[in-house]
């Protein structure tokens, strides 16, 4: 465990409310997104995340620090979410997680490229992306749009891009928490980022 985590854990165990709230504020949103992979409905995912915090408190004394606090927390969420999914009669979408859909999801619509039998430039841009104006990237509306685009993704893609790009987790941490292979993690991330880029392009081109 990292030093800050050890300190955090000590603060928690000695009853520090600020330490607890800090942890909740940092991880709750991501916990909801992870739970949503399994239970799909947002309101149920929210309940699962809350339940996970209570579970974490109950288990805190037994937590030995063999894994990081974060890994441990997310394992609790995943387990609770799976149980809840079964109770809700939902088949856990292992396939969605373990093997992303084999149906290809091109990063960019094929129509935007010249056909593969083009005599001069097969597979090259026909409808080119243009540079985004730097000042618009800084507008709060852009952040709102990216939020929307991420929310609209399929559950597993949303979870992966949230953990990687919003929360700043490493690929390894995500693979671990979501029980994904390296390749599948990358495919989900690629599909998610590509769709979000496309949504932003539509917005900037409006």
């Amino acid at each position: 465990m990292a030093t800050t985590e050890v300190q955090e854990l000590e603060a928690l165990r000695s009853g520090g409310e600020e330490a607890f709230l800090g942890l909740v504020r940092r991880h709750h949103a991501a916990m909801v997104r992870v739970a949503q992979i399994y239970v799909s409905r947002r309101d149920i995912a929210e309940e699962v995340a809350q339940e996970a915090w209570l579970g974490a408190l109950r288990g805190l004394d037994r937590f030995e620090g063999r894994s990081s606090l974060k890994t441990w927390l997310f394992r609790i969420v995943t387990n609770l979410a799976k149980t809840r999914a079964v109770r809700e009669g939902r088949t856990i979408p292992f396939s969605a997680l373990r093997a992303p859909d084999t149906v290809p999801e091109p990063a960019v619509e094929p129509e935007r490229f010249r056909p593969s039998d083009d005599p001069r430039w097969p597979g090259h841009w026909a409808s080119k992306p243009t540079e985004w104006p730097e000042h618009r990237l800084l507008e709060s509306e852009s952040l709102a749009r990216i939020h929307e685009a991420i929310d609209a993704l399929p559950d597993s893609q949303r979870a992966v891009i949230s953990l990687r790009d919003i929360e700043g987790w490493s690929a390894d941490e995500v693979c671990n928490a979501l029980e994904l292979s390296e390749t599948n993690q990358r495919v989900l991330l690629h599909r998610a980022r590509s769709k979000v880029r496309a949504a932003m392009e539509r917005y900037f081109d409006e």
Partner: protein, 84 residues
């Protein structure tokens, strides 16, 4: 490496490799093909920059999903846990 063995990437192929490229997960050969293509294709450079901008923007997002009621509830759970 002889020229005949290394086939150039098309733009359509490149866009599918962007994440693997940014994750440094491409083979040395594919990495070289990727950068070779970029060096001569301004449009793909724009595309890559858009992907980077997308990642940067996502990193600036703060997701405050916790409702005040939920926070209060968790805090009271924490207090009763502490007072056990």
């Amino acid at each position: 490496m002889s020229e005949a063995t290394v086939e150039a990437l098309s733009c359509q192929e490149l866009v599918e490799l962007v994440t693997a490229y940014l994750e440094r997960a491409l083979t040395a050969e594919d990495h070289a093909r990727f950068e070779e293509h970029l060096a001569t294709c301004g449009t793909c450079e724009v595309y890559l920059e858009q992907m980077r901008a997308t990642i940067r923007l996502a990193g600036e997002m703060t997701v405050e999903d916790l409702s005040p009621e939920a926070e209060r509830e968790l805090l009271s759970a924490f207090r009763s846990w502490r007072g056990r």
